[in-house]
């Protein structure tokens, strides 16, 4: 199925860069480049297959599980080239979240059952953390799973589940002990989305896309063995994943690609020679450069086998707020075209002036709002007393 594992890390960074670049230019579909918003599975299926055939689905997984086994430096090169060529994300919750988690905390059976189908793209994962009254406050979640023989019976509602309408499976947090204190009594469950009793309702976002869903659970029966880690210990499992997520959410990808878009617009609009623009652009360029540096520091920590500490929250804060500032400057530079939805015509080509701005809005909210991240840093890194 997948090509034989190769030792990418043996290549020099420059050589690896060339390989990656060639791979993208050879295989990635032209019409999918520089997508202004998140792509649905239907658009990305072909590309997923291509990645799968070449063993390129999971750059960061160890090779023994079918990943590329890239060390952090190589992973950064990979991401940089992906951004430079404007390669869109495939639905990647399985690749980024479930895979690393099962490798770290799953059973052999779970790894064998789930990992290969993530690599082939047969199974697409979505996330079930947030609830209407437990957004950034995950410990307040109320969706419950009651053990009934060999099954958990799940009832409740999840929300902000990204592209759940394309998911075949969901990893979710459920309350398995209602008597326990808030963060205890939570379990981590893997759920097949075709199980009877599940209803998915896409929500339209500000930018007009159906990027998130509400998911309703009505007496949904989930096999007992689908639990990851111990029962009632799901908070610890989720926390491990949260620092992965923060690393991922803090990846310079968004900001980097937004900055490229800003450069493009500066050329299209002729603002590239305007000293006021250059001053603002340079400040953002340096912000993105330092974001890259910060990201490399944390990924190196992961690759050195160290656990990520609570300080990884700063990556998410800085990454998303830099992204947001770039979106603001794009709107500013667009002048009158900043009032138009979708592509506007400029002399040198067409440009969507608002997409970055819109995409920046949820980035400071999801994955734990930046307010929650700041609480974490203040309390757990700076040791300031609790409020």
């Amino acid at each position: 199925m997948s090509a034989p594992a190769q030792d990418w890390n043996a290549l020099s960074d420059d050589d690896f860069r060339k390989v990656v670049r060639t791979f993208f230019t050879t295989h990635y579909p032209e019409h999918l480049r520089y997508s202004p918003s998140r792509r649905r599975l239907s658009d990305m299926r072909g590309w997923y297959d291509t990645l799968s055939q070449h063993g390129w689905v999971a750059p960061s997984w160890p090779t023994r599980y079918g990943g590329m086994g890239l060390e952090p430096g190589k992973l950064v090169v990979f991401i940089e080239e992906q951004e430079a060529y404007g390669v869109a994300r495939v639905p990647d919750h399985g690749i980024i979240m479930v895979g690393p988690l099962l490798i770290q905390q799953g059973t052999d059976e779970q790894r064998l059952r789930y990992l290969p189908k993530i690599l082939t793209g047969e199974e697409i994962w979505c996330q079930g953390y947030s609830e209407p009254n437990a957004g950034s406050d995950l410990a307040s979640l109320r969706t419950e799973a009651v053990l009934d023989g060999d099954h958990f019976v799940v009832n409740g509602q999840k929300t902000w589940s990204t592209l759940a309408q394309d998911g075949t499976h969901m990893f979710m947090l459920v309350r398995t002990d209602k008597m326990a204190r808030k963060q205890e009594g939570i379990s981590f469950l893997l759920v097949d989305m075709t199980t009877p009793g599940i209803t998915v309702r896409p929500m339209r976002t500000l930018s007009g896309h159906e990027e998130f869903c509400e998911v309703f659970f009505d007496d949904v029966r989930v096999p007992k063995e689908n639990i990851v880690g111990e029962i009632n210990k799901g908070w610890g499992v989720a926390k491990a994943l949260l620092s992965f997520e923060r690393l991922f959410l803090g990846s310079p990808k968004l900001a980097q690609s937004a900055l490229s878009r800003l450069s493009t617009l500066a050329v299209l609009s002729g603002r590239v020679r305007d000293p006021v623009f250059r001053d603002k652009f340079t400040a953002l360029q340096l912000d993105v450069d330092d974001l890259n540096g910060l990201y490399r520091r944390f990924t190196a920590q992961v690759s050195d086998g160290e656990k990520l500490g609570p300080d990884v929250s700063i990556l998410k804060i800085w990454g998303t707020e830099t992204f947001s500032r770039i979106g603001d400057l794009i709107v500013e530079v667009s002048a009158g075209a900043g009032m138009i939805d979708g592509p506007s015509d400029f002399e040198g080509g067409s440009f969507d002036t608002l997409s970055t701005f819109y995409n920046a809005r949820p980035s400071t909210i999801y994955g734990g709002t930046n307010e929650v991240q700041r609480n974490i840093v203040a309390g757990n890194v700076l040791n300031l007393p609790s409020t």
Partner: protein
């Protein structure tokens, strides 16, 4: 004593207008109307019945002859629940041009406007930049008649529009002519604006223009005055929008619970809420100053400074406030299901239209500090 009683008379009149606008807003307007995307002719008619269409029109042109300061509080009321209809584009920008024109054609258009049965647009812009070149559209004499050719962009409103006041270069001057939307040679491509309304790119290809259609042979000054008035009027709508967004957000902060607490009790949010309130109050005083300066102005430079002063503040404040409003609402604020997002979309549209904050700051600098090196 005359001065004081004039003032209080004016204040009473303003209050009357404001109250009727507020009543109309309460009765007829809902932010969610932006989702439908289309202009309501009933609401348009309603605005006309309030007398708002002819408020700025001089008495000798059949209007009420009031000043921008009299309109501002009413526009604030209409802006708060996000008036979707193109009042400023059609009644202020186009209306003031028509009133200043003084031809039989403009008189009849003005009458239709006052009755709420006409939706005109001014087509002046050719570059996205306020300070860009907007003079490529040409009016040329040919075969005894006149011919209009060129392309205008960001024409607002771009849908349901009955005709355009087009700014064209004639014999070394800017001439303003009326072109019906259905005239031969006119092609309208609409572009969806952030707020769901439509702006248009309008192509004019050898459109025949009769002498009757010429609203002003040398119309640059008239157009300029109308633009500055419209810019201040947009600021008033934005101030209403800012108040609306802040009210909605403070309500949310007072009721939404997370971590077992009302989120409005979190000090970090409280301090940021205060900063939004400051933006609102600065916006209010910026408009007051601009209105006062505009009403006293006797030259176009002073009028432009007044307009830029207000728009620089309001375009910026509206975006600061509505972005923070989304953040404070959290996830729900990013869905299209909650109205707070409509405030952001409307803010994006009105902030960019007629020049964004950076453009107006630059113009203010140019006018107050002189040209840069």
């Amino acid at each position: 004593m005359t001065k004081t009683s004039d003032l209080s008379e004016r204040r009473q009149q303003q209050q009357l207008i404001t109250e009727s606008a507020a009543a109309f807003a309460k009765r007829e307007l809902l932010p969610s109307a932006l989702r439908s995307g289309s202009i309501s002719h009933t609401r348009w008619q309603g605005l006309a019945e309030l007398g708002l269409m002819s408020l700025l029109i001089p008495e000798d042109a059949g209007g009420l002859g009031l000043k921008i300061g009299d309109l501002v509080p009413a526009l604030e009321q209409l802006g708060k629940p996000l008036l979707r209809e193109p009042f400023i584009a059609s009644a202020v920008l186009a209306g003031v041009v028509l009133a200043g024109s003084g031809t039989p054609k403009s008189a009849s258009l003005l009458e239709s406007l006052a009755e709420g049965v006409l939706i005109p647009a001014v087509a002046w812009q050719e570059s996205y930049d306020l300070a860009g070149d907007h003079t490529s559209t040409k009016l040329s004499k040919e075969n005894g008649g006149q011919n209009l050719s060129g392309r205008k962009i960001l024409v607002t409103p771009g849908d349901e529009v009955d005709g355009f006041i087009v700014a064209a270069s004639g014999a070394g001057v800017t001439t303003l002519v009326w072109v019906a939307a259905n005239a031969e040679g006119v092609k309208v491509e609409t572009r969806r604006a952030a707020d769901g309304g439509e702006a248009a790119t309008v192509h004019f290809e050898n459109v025949a223009v009769t002498d009757d259609d010429v609203l002003s042979v040398d119309g640059a000054a008239l157009l300029d005055e109308a633009q500055q008035l419209a810019t201040i009027a947009v600021c008033a709508e934005l101030l209403g929008l800012i108040r609306g967004a802040i009210d909605m957000t403070m309500d949310y902060l007072r009721t939404r619970k997370q971590f077992n607490r009302t989120i409005g009790s979190f000090q970090a949010l409280q301090h940021r809420a205060t900063d939004l309130f400051i933006q609102q109050e600065l916006s209010a005083v910026a408009i007051s100053r601009a209105v006062a300066d505009f009403e006293m102005a006797t030259d176009s430079r002073t009028r432009a400074i007044a307009a830029s002063r207000a728009k620089a503040r309001l375009s910026s404040a509206a975006l600061i406030v509505t972005k923070e409003a989304i953040q404070m609402h959290g996830g729900i604020g990013y869905t299209d299901e909650h109205d707070i997002g409509l405030y952001l979309k409307r803010a994006l549209t009105l902030s960019a239209w007629l020049g964004n904050a950076a453009e107006h700051r630059a113009r203010f600098a140019r006018l107050t500090l002189g040209e840069a090196a």
